[in-house]
Every structure is written in C-alpha cells, then in structure tokens.
Symmetry: C2
Subunit: 212 residues, 2 copies
C-alpha cells in the first residue's frame, strides 16, 4: 500500500484520480487564481468533501475560506506525479495500438520517453516509427538488462501477453500499462494499469441498451 | 439507473465488470464444463461472494454445490452484452488513435460495425482506412440524421471535444466512448465511458515511484 502524508494508506481509486485533478488545475491555470473545493467539486462532478479528502492524502493544500491556489496546486500535483522527470518507456507490440501510442505526442509531453518498440514479425525489425526503432522480441531480455526501463506498454495479442509479462518482470521493468485483452498473472503488488478498450465499449453498449 | 433482475439498481462498477466476466467465461469455454464462484473469484482476483453478488443482478445463474455452467454463462452474458446484435459506430478524429481503432479487429469481432470516420483536415477526406471512409466533420449532423448510429468514439483534441460532443447529442447518438483528454460536459444520465490513456500512465508512474 502507498502511504499518504499523514501515514494512512491511499486507496487505489484516489491514486487513479490524481491525474484528473492535475488536468483540472492545468486547465484552470491562467483562468483563475484560486478555486474552492465546492466549485472544483462541481466542475469535476463530485462533492466538495470528496475533493478535500482526496487532496488531503497528499498534503495540506487548501485554506479555509480561500480554497486552493491554482498555480500552487498545479505545481504540487505535477511534483507528486513527477511530471518533470523523464520516465523511460518501451512498447511491446508494433500493431495498431502500439504504433498509435508511439506517435501519440501527449505521452511524451506528460514526461515519458519512448525508447524502443518490440515485435515478433521479422519484416518490422529495424523500422522506425516517430524515430523509435522496432527491435525483435528476442532482444527484449538483453535490452532490459542494459537499459533502465520504468514502464512497459503491453499491446500484444492476449495469447502471448502473460509470456511477455513474465520476461518484463524477470528483467526489472517496474510497471506495465496493459492494453492486451486479458488480465495479467503477476504478483499482487506489481504495478499494473489496464486499458481494456473492448470491455469499455461493451459496457457502454450495455448501458445504452438498458437505457432504452 | 439501470435495474437488475430483482428490481434493484445495478451499480456502475458492476456493469463495468460484466465484460470482464464474459472474457473469463469465453476463455473457460472448452476448458471446463462448470466453475464454482470460489474458483472464479480466485481466477479473477476477487472473492466468491463478490462473484455471486455481481452475477445475481443479471439472473439466477449459479447452483448451490454445482457452480456455474460455463457454456450457459457465456451465452447468457453474451446476450446481456448483446454480442450478437450489430451496433453501429462512428469514429470522430482520424488521428493516431482514431486510425488504430478503425484497424482494430477486436472491435468488429465484439459486434461493432464501424460505419464512418470524421475529421476536419481536407486532405484526409475520402481516404479509406480498413474500408471505412473519412468524411468531413461538417457532414456529421446530416450523416447522423440519416443513419442510426448507436456509439460515437471521440478521438479529437481536447479543445474541440465538447463542441463535437454537443453535435453528437443533438443528432441522436446514444453514447460516447471518449478518448479525448478531457471530461465531457453532457447531461448526467447520458452514457459515456472514458479512456484516459495519459491519466492511466501517470497513475502507474506515481505508483511505481511510491513503491521504491
């Protein structure tokens, strides 16, 4: 568990909301000098008390009767999220999703350095996408042993996702952003975030059908 | 709110888990005839009672001492998710993400029919990606008025996301899968699922940093 400023465990849902708070303070910057938890809660479609509770895990940012200083909170949340430190990332799978993410400037702007792509198809090896080279997946272990890679983005078919994940863990990757359509079998405490696109669109279709 | 079989409201988190249950029963099909809630809970990294509670919203599927019949549950969950009905989808934004999703076969296999792409760049208009044509965004209102579109995938820059969302709502789209890096300002009850890639990778980086 990750501990907050006051020593209490920060729930995972709160951690996952921090980038969203950062987005709002980034957006507010230049528009407002300060904002109350009530107003921020309205903007974010949540309650003032939820806002105060969420942010209190990370520090004593608000001031009674004044609210939050926008520039300060943007800076503090940026520090918490380590926006200004380059984090080295590789992408496994040079298919549609892997390629789109390689070309996706927002990832670089958020402080992530795309170092290399890996794929199994011989014809792709050596190709460069947005200046990032595609390596053969067999080179993955030695690449990981000689580079300090923080995050691997997994965009491979579900049938091979766990095999690749095992190699990533064994060779020191610290976390996985998983786009493969399966849940990875890794130790409970290993950092994983899943982006299950098909699950999302199926849930959306279910909600639409049920709304009729 | 969406009501379950017994008339109670189904929490959104439960709805969002249904595609995951479907994935597991699809994967189990051919491997096992039946599965207990205990075993399924272990596979899915949750508890037996959570499994029973989640599935009970949708019907009386399990049998004491027997568990769940895999083929039956796969079929029932497929019906609940309406897997076999084609749902018509358009994608707004023919950038990296929009293109990757157009080429993404898993979306078609899950029952979604990609009808058209829309973009603002004149040079892209008329181009076909995986046989799906790119139309000019100005044609969006008349296209929506003459086609029965269930879902729009929004993959446009955040600056224009709300303008596009407004057009989608006014012209009868029933739900939005939002990849734009902003939260959409739409009526509370309008179906939206967000895929915030940057939020996910920032949360992952935070968890990694905090784990050190």
């Amino acid at each position: 568990m990750i501990k907050g400023k006051d020593g209490s465990n920060i729930p995972k849902v709160v951690i996952e909301r921090i980038p969203r708070y950062y987005r709002y303070f980034d957006w507010l910057d230049g528009q407002a000098e300060k904002i109350s938890s009530k107003k921020l809660g309205e903007l974010m479609d949540t309650s003032a008390s939820q806002v105060r509770l969420d942010l209190s895990y990370f520090g004593d940012f608000g001031q009674q009767g004044y609210g939050y200083n926008v520039k300060k909170l943007k800076r503090e949340l940026g520090n918490i999220l380590d926006i200004n430190t380059k984090k080295q990332v590789i992408i496994i799978g040079a298919g549609n999703i892997g390629r789109a993410l390689t070309r996706f400037n927002a990832i670089k702007e958020a402080g992530f350095d795309l170092m290399a792509l890996f794929d199994v198809k011989p014809i792709l090896i050596g190709e460069r996408i947005s200046d990032v080279e595609i390596h053969h997946i067999e080179e993955l272990p030695s690449y990981l042993d000689t580079h300090e890679i923080s995050i691997a983005v997994l965009a491979v078919p579900k049938q091979v996702a766990n095999d690749v994940a095992r190699v990533l863990l064994e060779h020191g990757v610290k976390g996985i952003l998983n786009f493969s359509r399966t849940d990875l079998e890794v130790p409970k405490e290993f950092p994983i975030e899943n982006i299950h696109i098909i699950d999302k669109i199926l849930a959306l279709a279910f909600i639409i059908k049920s709304n009729v």
